[in-house]
């Protein structure tokens, strides 16, 4: 999706804003937003890719003027509504509405702290042993397909249509572009693709520099 999340190469945002002795959270609500987002996610109703798409689907003016945890919170509200866990009115008041539709029948119980600690320690790898075999190998020249879709994609705009070289085979991973939309994981090869900085940005780029993006088989086509 060509949303406001796709920031690579944009100009005009000013200095980096490095903060000495930065606190982990700048307000107590940020810690609660992190925790509630992860905890509701533990119910397994959506993938990380669908969650990212919910965040990047915010209108660009909203996305660009929202803090990180505000973006998370707005995305979480979208996911909660979409998956029938609460209505807009309930989210507004913070109170369950007796007239709201029942929760999904197959909803699992919320994990307690011990189960949650185990989930955090284990994580949830997107690597898949049953992935499609790779079409490319190290040293191959590839072109990134010019993907412009309202759906989720992890091919950033600044590499689309550009030619790079495969420098690492990462193995088989869930394909986020389909994983986000309910079209299945379609696990396939993921690669680190190196682009010369000058091939991306032109003559103002440093001649020695390069940028790598991790891209999947379905993002790429052979380049001469």
């Amino acid at each position: 999706m060509n949303g406001a999340q796709d920031l690579g190469g944009m100009m005009g945002f000013g200095p980096i804003g490095i903060e000495a002795d930065e606190p982990m959270f700048h307000a107590a609500w940020e810690a609660r937003a992190l925790a509630v987002t992860l905890a509701v996610g533990f119910l397994g109703r959506w993938s990380i890719d669908e969650a990212r798409h919910a965040r990047e689907s915010l209108p660009p003016p909203v996305y660009l003027t929202s803090s990180y945890y505000e973006i998370w919170t707005r995305g979480l509200e979208t996911l909660i509504r979409r998956h029938g866990l609460a209505t807009s009115a309930e989210l507004e008041t913070g109170q369950p509405d007796p007239a709201a539709p029942a929760l999904p029948a197959d909803l699992k119980p919320a994990p307690g702290p011990d189960a949650a600690a185990a989930i955090l320690a284990r994580g949830s790898s997107a690597r898949r042993a049953d992935a499609r075999p790779p079409r490319f190998t190290i040293g191959d020249r590839v072109r990134v397909r010019d993907i412009n879709t309202p759906a989720h994609t992890r091919a950033p705009r600044y590499v689309r249509g550009r030619v790079g070289e495969i420098v690492r085979l990462h193995g088989g991973f869930v394909f986020p572009d389909t994983g986000a939309s309910g079209a299945g994981e379609q696990p396939q090869a993921c690669y680190a693709v190196r682009f010369a900085a000058r091939d991306l940005w032109g003559e103002t780029a440093h001649p020695r520099d390069c940028v790598h993006a991790d891209l999947w088989d379905d993002h790429l086509e052979p380049a001469a």
Binding site: E70, E92, G94, L103, P113, Y158, A197
Partner: protein
């Protein structure tokens, strides 16, 4: 410089449920939200999720405690110090970072599949996520605000040397800058160059000088004049 320490020791929040008070930090960028409306909104979601049985309140506290006190850049510093002092470990780290980092006990969410990148005198690696804020939580903890901000995410790929200069890191024209955009479920850890003046240091002493920013690749670790008395923690 031990810029990672604050992530662990200096910031004990109230883990209770009174989250109506916000800390009055003032920031000059658009990535700090007006606190009060968001505090109310998050409070409503949390109250609703608890009331509907979607979350266990004790789980919320567990999550916050995990990232405030248990998971942070000291983990990554330990990995780097081990790699600097144990050539066999370094070889394993560069060949299979996930397994080598798991050897030290650092596994889990946002570190499921790891890649280590070695900085040398000729090659400087730096990491960004232009599309969201992917970051190796298991070895670095939660990311700082600048890493998640539009200025860093937009410019790191376009003008890496300008970004590095803002962090006080100036590289010669003979150095190749390699930017890595974390567009997949792989998390990158930069293995910084071991600074001069540390030849006889212990692993603990070395771990004490490895900074979060050096492991993201936006800075290098300065040459050391003498060994520290003892690294903290």
């Amino acid at each position: 410089m031990t810029g990672h320490d604050h992530d662990h020791d200096d910031h004990h929040h109230d883990h209770g449920h009174d989250h109506s008070h916000d800390h009055g930090h003032v920031h000059g960028d658009a990535h700090t939200a007006p606190p009060s409306p968001m505090a109310a909104r998050v409070k409503a979601i949390e109250a609703l999720a608890v009331a509907k049985g979607l979350v266990d309140p004790a789980t919320l506290d567990l999550i916050i405690d995990t990232y405030e006190t248990r998971v942070g850049p000291r983990n990554g510093a330990r990995v780097v110090a081990r790699a600097w002092t144990d050539p066999a470990y370094k070889a394993r780290l560069l060949a299979d970072a996930t397994a080598a980092i798991a050897e030290l006990g650092y596994t889990g969410r946002q570190g499921e599949d790891m890649v280590a990148l070695e900085n040398t005198g000729q090659v400087h690696n730096m990491v960004v996520c232009t599309l969201c804020s992917c970051y190796p939580w298991t070895v670095l903890g939660l990311p700082p605000v600048w890493y998640k901000s539009a200025p860093y995410r937009s410019r790191a790929v376009l003008d890496p040397r300008g970004v590095l200069a803002e962090f006080g890191c100036t590289l010669g024209d003979d150095v190749e800058v390699r930017v890595w955009d974390s567009t997949a479920e792989l998390r990158y850890l930069v293995l910084p160059e071991r600074p001069a003046g540390t030849d006889d240091w212990t692993e603990d002493q070395l771990a004490g000088i490895v900074t979060r920013d050096a492991m993201i690749g936006v800075s290098r670790i300065a040459p050391q004049a003498g060994a520290p008395a003892m690294a903290e923690g």
